[in-house]
C-alpha cells in the first residue's frame, strides 16, 4: 500500500471538509462553484481509489491521530462503505456539474459562497459517516451532514422550503437524538464506542435490558432519518421545495447513508449477539417495507407535482431496499445493496432531468408540462430512459436489482411469493406514474402555443445524458455494482448461516 493509499480514508473526509471554509471566503463570481466541483471530483477520485482497493481485497483501517482503536477513533473502509461512497461522491459531482445554471437561478451570487460551503459540508458529513468505525463519530458527522443539508434544502427562492426544512430539522433531530440515546446505553453497558470492539463486548451483556432498548432506539432513530415508512413525512416536501440540483444530490444518496448505518448496526453489532434479533429485525421491517412500497407508489399515482411524485416514489424505493435486507439472507441483502446503487442512478437522473425541465418551465405541475417534450425532446428522452430504469425494464440498471430482489424472495419460502407480488404490484404502479408524466410530456398538445421554449442549456443536457446512459451501461455491464454489493452483503452477514 502506497502512503497515499494509506491516507485515503482520512482524505476522503478531510479534503472536502477543509475546503468548505475556503469556499465560504471565495467572493468572485463562479469561483465558489468551481472550487466545490473540484473538491467533489477529488472526493469521487478518492472513492474510486478506495473501491479499487476494496475490490482487490484490501481492508482500509486508519487510526486517527495514531491512537490505536478502541482508544482512538478508527476509520474503516470495506466494500459496503466503498459502494455508498461511490454513490455519494458521484451524485454530488454530477449534480454540481449539471446544476450550475440552475443554482445560479436559485441562489443569488452574493450568497453562493455560503451555499457551496454548505454543499461541501453535506458531502464531507456523509463521507465521514461512511468511513467511520466509531459509533459516536458517526453521530458527529451525522450532525454536520444534517445541519448542512437543512441549509442547502432551504437555499432556493421558494419560501415554502422553509416550513418543509423546519419539519425536516425537527424530525432529523429526533432521529439523531434517538441514535444518541442508543449509543449512550450501549456505552454504559460496554464502555466502548468502537464498532468492532462493541460487537465483541456486547456479547456478554446481550440479554440485558439497556442493550435491547438501545437496539430499538438506534433502529427507530435511523429509520426516521432514512425516511422509512411511516416515518417519511419530512421527505416529500423537503425534496419538492429544495433547489433542483440539491434534490438530485440528496435524493440519490442522503437516505441511503442512514440506511447504511442502520444495516451496519443491525447486522454487525446486534445480529451476531442478540438472540432472535434476526427474526425481530425481519418482523419489524418487512411489513414496513411492504407498506412503503404500496403506500408510496399509491400516493405517487395521484400526485400532480412531478417533484413530489418522484419524492413519494423514493419512499417506495426505500421500501425495496429494506425488503431485501429484511429477508436476512445473502441474496436478499446483496439485492438490497444493489438497489441502493441502481436507485441512486435512476432517481438522480430523473431529478436531473426535472432540473433541466425547470430551466424553462417555472411550474412543475403536470398540467403545466403538457407537450413539454416537443420543446425539450432531449431532456424528456433522458427522463424516459431514467423512468424505464426506475420501473425496472430489462436493459436498464433498475431491472438488475429488481431481478435479484425477486430471486432472493423466491428463496424465502411461502412468504416469498407474497413479496414477489408486492414487488410486481409496486413496479406496475411505477409504470403508471411514470407513464402519466411521459404521456403528458410527449403526447399532449402544448398549452401555450406560439411561445418559443428552447431546449435546456447544452452543458446541462450533456451531463443529464451522461447520467441517463449510465443507467443503460450499468444495466448491461453489471459486474462492478454486483461484485461490490455481493462482497458487502457477505461481510455484513459475517458468521450468520
Amino acid at each position: 500500500m502506497t502512503p497515499l493509499e494509506f491516507h485515503l480514508p482520512a482524505l476522503q473526509v478531510a479534503a472536502p471538509m477543509l475546503l468548505a471554509p475556503v469556499v465560504a471566503l471565495l467572493r468572485p463570481r463562479g469561483l465558489a462553484w468551481a472550487a466545490t466541483l473540484v473538491a467533489s471530483l477529488m472526493a469521487l477520485a478518492i472513492a474510486i481509489g478506495l473501491t479499487q482497493g476494496a475490490l482487490s481485497g484490501e481492508s482500509f483501517s486508519y487510526a486517527m491521530g495514531g491512537w490505536e482503536p478502541p482508544y482512538g477513533i478508527e476509520l474503516h473502509v470495506d466494500m459496503f462503505s466503498a459502494l455508498v461512497l461511490l454513490i455519494v461522491t458521484g451524485a454530488s459531482s454530477i449534480a454540481l456539474m449539471a446544476g450550475k445554471a440552475s443554482l445560479d437561478k436559485a441562489v443569488e451570487h452574493s450568497r453562493q459562497p455560503l451555499f457551496y460551503s454548505a454543499w461541501l459540508l453535506v458531502l464531507s458529513g456523509l463521507a465521514g459517516i461512511l468511513v467511520s468505525a466509531d459509533a459516536f463519530n458517526i453521530f458527529v458527522f451525522m450532525e454536520i451532514s444534517s445541519l448542512a443539508s437543512y441549509i442547502v434544502v432551504a437555499g432556493g427562492t421558494d419560501r415554502r422550503a422553509l416550513p418543509a426544512v423546519f419539519k425536516y430539522l425537527i424530525m432529523g433531530t429526533i432521529g439523531a437524538t434517538f441514535y444518541l440515546i442508543g449509543i449512550g446505553l450501549i456505552y454504559m453497558m460496554t464502555g466502548t464506542l468502537n464498532l468492532a470492539d462493541m460487537e465483541l463486548r456486547i456479547h456478554d451483556v446481550a440479554d440485558q435490558r439497556p442493550i435491547l432498548v438501545a437496539a430499538g432506539f438506534i433502529t427507530v432513530g435511523l429509520a426516521l432519518k432514512a425516511a422509512v415508512f411511516p416515518l417519511h413525512v419530512w421527505l416529500p416536501n423537503a425534496y419538492t421545495y429544495a433547489p433542483h440540483a440539491v434534490t438530485a444530490f440528496l435524493a440519490a444518496c442522503a437516505t441511503k447513508v442512514s440506511l447504511y448505518v442502520l444495516l451496519r448496526f443491525d447486522f454487525v453489532v446486534f445480529q451476531q449477539n442478540l438472540l432472535g434479533h434476526e427474526f425481530q429485525f425481519a418482523a419489524f421491517l418487512m411489513p414496513l417495507a411492504v407498506l412503503a412500497i404500496l403506500a408510496g407508489s399509491a400516493v405517487a399515482l395521484f400526485e400532480s407535482n412531478i417533484k413530489r411524485l418522484l419524492a413519494y416514489s423514493s419512499v417506495a424505493q426505500i421500501g425495496y431496499i429494506l425488503l431485501g435486507a429484511s429477508l436476512v439472507s445473502l441474496a436478499g441483502l446483496s439485492a438490497s445493496l444493489l438497489h441502493m446503487f441502481n436507485h441512486a442512478l435512476a432517481k438522480g437522473t430523473l431529478f436531473l432531468a426535472v432540473m433541466a425541465l425547470a430551466m424553462r418551465f417555472t411550474r412543475l405541475d403536470l398540467r403545466h408540462l403538457a407537450g413539454s417534450a416537443q420543446h425539450m425532446p432531449w431532456t424528456m428522452a433522458a427522463f424516459v430512459i431514467a423512468g424505464l430504469s426506475l420501473i425496472g425494464v430489462p436493459g436498464t440498471a433498475g431491472f438488475i436489482s429488481k431481478w435479484y430482489l425477486v430471486s432472493a424472495a423466491l428463496e424465502a419460502g411461502p412468504v416469498g411469493f407474497f413479496l414477489i407480488a408486492v414487488v410486481v404490484i409496486g413496479s406496475l404502479m411505477a409504470v403508471v406514474y411514470i407513464w402519466r408524466i411521459i404521456e403528458t410530456a410527449w403526447f399532449e398538445p402544448p398549452t401555450e402555443a406560439g411561445e418559443v421554449i428552447r431546449e435546456a442549456p447544452v452543458t446541462m443536457l450533456a451531463v443529464v445524458w451522461l447520467a441517463a446512459l449510465a443507467n443503460i451501461y450499468f444495466g448491461l455491464a453489471t459486474d462492478l455494482p454486483r461484485e461490490l454489493a455481493a462482497g458487502a452483503a457477505a461481510s455484513l452477514l459475517g458468521q450468520l448461516p
Binding site: L11, M17, P21, A118, G128, V140, I144, M188, P210, F217
Partner: protein, 329 residues
Amino acid sequence: MTVLFGVFLLALLVITAVAIVRTQNLFVAVMLLGIFSLLIALNFFILDAADVALTEAAVGAGISTVLFLGALALTYEHERMVTRHRALSVAVVVCATLVVLYATFDKPTFGDPNAPVHQHVAPWYLENEPKYIDIPNVVTAVLGSFRGYDTLGEVFVVFTAGIGVLFLLSARPTAPNSRRRAEDESSGIGLREDLIPRIVGRMLVPFILLFGLYVQFHGEYGPGGGFQAGALIAAAFILYALVEGEERTLEVLPKNALIALSSAGALLYGGVGLAGILLGSEFLDYSVLASNPITGQQMGIILIEAGVGMTVTGVLLLIFHAFAARDQV
C-alpha cells in the same frame, strides 16, 4: 448527599421542561430555557464533569439565551400557532420515557467502580495519558487528542451552524417590516442613554475578555478550553454591542472579519491535522509536530484549542449580528 441533591436538581429539571412546553409566552420560555441549562450545568458539576458544566453554563445558559432573545425580537412574543398533533407528541414522549425507564432496571448502579465504563477505555486514558501527553487535565487530552477527530467534527458543526444562519438570514425579506423600522428610529442606539448599565457594562467587558483568555489557555490544567473560551469572548463582544450599539462592535470586528475568523479557526484545526500527514504520521497525530512527542502533543492541543476558540467566537458573533442586522433591514 450527592444523590439527594442530584434527585432534587433532576426534579427541578423535569418541572422546568414541562413549564417550557406549556407556556405560550415565548419570552418566558426563553428565560426558562436558560434556567434549564443552568440546572443541567449544576447536574454535570455534581457528577464531577466540570468541563461540560462550564460549557453548558456558558453556551446553554448564556449565549443561547441572548441568541433566542435576538430571534424573538424579530417575531412575536406569544406563540400564535396552536400545536397540532398534541396527543401524538405526548404519546411519543411518554413511550420513549417509559422505554428508557425500562432500560435503567439493568444498568450498573450509580458510582459503581466495576461498571463497564470504568473498566475498559477510561482506565487506559488515565494510565497512559501522562506517558503520551502529560497534561494535568485528562478531559482535555481525550477531547483534544485521543478523540481529536470528534472535536474537529464538532468545530465543523459549529461552523456549519454559523454559515447556515448567515445564509438563511441574508435572504432578502419578502416584505420589509416597516413597523419595526419606525420603532428603531425613535429609540436610541443600544443603551447609550442609560448611564448605569453603560458604565457597568463597559467596566465588565475587559474582565470577561481576560477571563475568556484564561479559560482558553488554562484548558490543559483545569476545566476550560476553546469552546468555553469562545463563548465567553463572544459574550464580551455581545455585551459591548448591547451597551454601545451593534455598529460600534461591527467597527471593531466587521462581518467579513468574523467569517474569516470562523473559517481560519476551522482551517487551523484541520491544518494541524494535515501537518500530521505531511510529517509522516496519521491525520491529527500531534506527536510529530516537535522532536519530542510529548511536546508535540502539547503544542498540537494548544493549537487546535486556539482553532476551536476562534471558530466558536466568530460563529457566535456572526449569528448574533445576523439576528441584530435583520431587525434593521
